[in-house]
Amino acid sequence: MLDKVADRAGKAAGGASGRAKAPGIDVSGVREAGQADRRGSMSKSDRGTIFELRDLTVKYGGTPAVKDVSMEIAAGEITALIGPSGCGKSTLIRCFNRMNDLIPSARVEGSCLYHGQDLYGPEVDPVEVRKRIGMVFQKPNPFPKSIKDNIAFGPKVLGLDDIEGRVERALHGAALWDEVKDRLDENAYSMSGGQQQRLCIARCIAVDPEVILMDEPCSALDPISTGKIEDLMMELKENYSIVIVTHNMQQAARVSDRTAFLIVELDAEERDRWGQLIEYDVTDKIFTNPADSRTEDYVTGKVG
């Protein structure tokens, strides 16, 4: 499997040179490495590509939070973004459904293509984007409403039909139905943290998006609840493409098909710091035979 990947990646022009340059190099070299990985991954996915980032930079008030990220995200897979705190992985995932629009000082440069359309094109309506690309957040954020109304909210707001049916299907889809079917009218805050997070996943799939973004969905949960969410992710993979940000490397290794590793880069004077994509490949390779020594140090626990 890994050989095949390397072989295909090699066919793309920048592949070999990118890898050769990878350890300990300047910014432009890293960008090339990123592009090499992007080209490499393009040929690997079997259900096509949903996102294609080209030199994506996000700035908050002029200061870059993440710089020059180029990568492709495959459909029907789970893609994990890992890296130390401040490496911009949360900033990056929030680009995929224009959540950064809610932060007034945020500016996005470069392009983020969704099925070939630039999400940041001048005609693009963020509301339309978010109807197709849902999100689950770090802290479970159910609305202060009943369990049923939480799930019905999305379909109602979008004017969809068969609300009752959607609620039931979404709860089944999030493996929550058996636990809550007798208390659908109770307030969502009466649920446990893990249940609340699965409710948020159910709420997300109730509007039937194509992609689910998950920003550290298990960081506030205990290991048992985390396990349930990971099992759920493996099931959801059948119907949805998933991008997950996680601090937990074991989680990335367990659930994801592909992993992107980002680090915090400092400028020469150590005044500015920003996130940089170091390596992006199939998860097995990232965790067993990474191309970049910094990736290896991180995944083996030498740093971070």
């Binding site: 459904n97 809610l102 109807k131 999100m135 957040f137 802290k139 954020n141 999305g154 707001v157 709420r203």
Partner: protein, 321 residues
């Protein structure tokens, strides 16, 4: 001073306290006790004032109800306490108060809530920083200015627009209500804005991530999540409107009509107290005691509203902590 020197004396040259020294206070610390006592006294003042007001209202009220039965006071609508053949059916001033309060809330609730939604959800931080203090300054304008504004500007202008509307120009419950409404808009806008700002950002993000528009996020998620704070702001504003005196004294007239018609002149409970207390009623007469009976009723009404509002605010604080 003395305490400090004794501590210094107890210190060894290195600066550490001698461990064999008993662990008792080095001085009785009278100053601290005095300060604690005076702080407590200050806190007691407001409680004592409330108690004093209740007593000062209650004692003459008891005298009043010794001569006038509860039934006559609460369930008849003949209101002529200052005449030679007096009648004490309090219904007319109560309806007058309700009328002005009703019309003020009809104006202030929509305007206040729309302002709150704008400030909390739409305004940029810069605009909010500018507009909110201005709005709150409006609450500090002396109410007599609102009263004069109502009589000299609102009443004639509205009279021009709707010539038949005001029955006895320039006085009308609706005009007074509008002016009181202007006065309480800041209460509703400011408290509701605070309540909506206190709704966690995560709820907004959750709604946006489902493809909700800004309006839907504001009206279907943030507003309902802040509802107890919003209701509390309305109740507080209502209680302010019930107790408002100067505006109604100037703009609502003195005729105790038994009507909710905004074009009619009414006499509110506060206006009755204001006029009578500054008039030439002899102390100790039944007419004089009427002031206290009406005042006691007013106190009970606003007290109940405030307790209700405080409970709501407390509940809405608990939800997200």
């Amino acid at each position: 001073m003395e305490a400090r020197s004794s501590i210094e004396a107890a210190r060894a040259p290195g600066g550490r306290l001698d461990p064999s020294r008993p662990l008792v206070a080095s001085s009785p610390r009278w100053g601290e006790r005095l300060i604690q006592l005076s702080l407590a006294l200050c806190a007691v003042i407001s409680v004592a004032t409330t108690t004093a007001i209740v007593i000062s209202l209650l004692v003459p009220s008891i005298g009043f109800f010794g001569e006038v039965s509860f039934g006559d006071f609460f369930s008849t609508d003949d209101w002529a306490p200052l005449t030679a053949d007096p009648s004490f059916g309090v219904l007319r001033p109560v309806i007058g108060t309700l009328s002005v309060t009703l019309w003020s809330l009809m104006f202030a609730i929509p305007v206040g809530l729309c302002s709150a939604i704008y400030l909390s959800e739409y305004a940029s931080p810069r605009v909010r920083k500018l507009v909110k203090p201005i709005l709150e300054v409006l609450a500090g304008v002396p109410t007599v200015a609102f009263g004069v504004f109502a009589v000299t500007f609102l009443s004639p202008e509205i009279g021009k627009l709707f010539p038949e509307f005001i029955k006895t120009p320039p006085f009308a419950a609706g005009i007074a209500g509008l002016a009181v409404g202007l006065l309480i808009v800041p209460i509703i806008a400011s408290i509701s804005d605070d309540a909506m700002k206190a709704v966690p950002g995560g709820l907004r993000e959750g709604a946006y991530a489902l493809g909700a528009t800004k309006l839907k996020v504001a009206t279907r998620v943030v507003f309902p999540a802040a509802i107890s704070g919003v209701v509390a702001s309305i109740v507080l504003a209502g209680s302010r409107a019930v107790g408002e005196t100067m505006v109604v004294l100037l703009a609502a007239g003195k005729t105790p009509n038994l009507t909710l018609d905004p074009g009619a002149s009414v006499q509110t409970m506060t206006a009755f107290i204001g006029t009578t207390a500054t008039g030439d009623v002899a102390v100790g007469t039944i007419a004089y005691d009427t002031i206290f009976a009406v005042g006691a009723l007013l106190f009970v009404m606003t007290f109940a509203l405030n307790i209700f509002a405080i409970r709501l605010v407390r509940r809405f604080r608990e939800v997200y902590e």
